[in-house]
Symmetry: C2
Subunit: 187 residues, 2 copies
DNA sequence: ACATGCATGTAAAATGTTACATGATTTC
DNA sequence: GAAATCATGTAACATTTTACATGCATGT
């Protein structure tokens, strides 16, 4: 199960389930999503397997938190996962599935659909660009090559997200041109 | 549920569950995957909802087949889905999740991981390029603009797959250069 | 007082994967 | 005769999503 391996990876630094959810939403959103209701049971399972250890943090103020951290056994399990080589993840692009059947709509409706898709993909790209810009500002001159390993590799994945998002925007634009040209040619 | 909508879309042409599985593997693989064990129950559900109708095909030779076709009510449900605008599909890129944690390996192992990822992404791209080339050969001069709607839109999704696959290959190459440069710079 | 954010969880439903079971036909 | 492909399904398991439940703290 990949989710458990990802949690294992993130728990290099001690963190609560809630902290981890925030990481998913901010740093991992471009390749993985997870809900709190999925994270909490997964953490319990990892603890039962001895791969992470949890400690109740005394709440001087605010609600109680359980802080987890990876064990030595957990680090070994993580290295094992990586040593297996790159795994393929299932991709389900609902918007492309819809595009596949756009002949069920008329030309105007189809064009509007692709316009909406373009707007959504531009928004995706914009979000990632803002994150990348903030990262760049925070780092020094030899960016990203001078980053320490534990920031360099996460940054690489952001670049992957950026590259894919840009490709999808460009594709939407081309598709829209084609659809408009069709509409003019036939109508 | 998107799978049911996709089946609904594909059942413009009469087809059996087995036929549909073949379509997933050949024409939809770049954005959606489905197993037979998922397709058969989904077809039964769609039939129970009156969106498709099945007919037992008399098997003169070979095993019995159930041929389904979309009903008028089914076509309305499909149009409805498309009219809701583009839906976002959950993306789970296991290989990027692994890349995120590559600092857990040493520089050589990390480089080998990315090399393997590059090879896998090149293979993805190659598969799609072969499909696109075959499509191009089969069609005439004004390709793809002269295609009928029910082939034009599926072709657009293939182009999306191609664009994303090419972007991921290029990203892997850049990442690999960076990792090798790092290895030389630091030791 | 009320909304928002922090914090942890359970329960139920939906969705997806893997393994199993069956049997005919076609190709080597 | 064996293996691959056609064809349909069930069962068990794993995973993910959505809804619900609880309670503290902070800002308006």
């Amino acid at each position: 199960m990949s989710l458990k391996h990802i949690l294992l990876g993130l728990l290099r630094q001690p963190a609560s389930g809630y902290d981890l959810k925030r990481e998913f939403d901010t740093s991992l959103a471009h390749f993985w999503a997870a809900e709190l209701s999925q994270i909490y049971p997964a953490l319990k399972q990892l603890e039962a397997e001895g791969l992470i250890a949890g400690k109740e943090a005394a709440p001087s103020l605010g609600p109680a938190r359980v802080i987890y951290k990876r064990t030595a056994k957990g680090s070994a399990a993580l290295a094992d996962w990586l040593a297996q080589g790159p795994k393929r993840g299932a991709q389900r692009h609902t918007d492309l599935a819809q595009t596949f059947f756009l002949d069920a709509l008329n030309a105007d409706e189809a064009a509007r659909f692709v316009e909406a898709m373009l707007a959504a993909r531009r928004e995706d790209l914009h979000v990632l660009q803002k994150i990348a810009a903030a990262w760049k500002r925070a780092a020094g001159a030899a960016f990203p090559d001078a980053l320490p390993d534990d920031e360099f590799y996460p940054y690489l994945t952001l670049e992957a997200g950026l590259a894919v998002a840009a490709a999808r925007v460009a594709w939407c634009e081309r598709a829209l041109h084609r659809i408009r040209k069709r509409r003019n040619d036939t109508g």
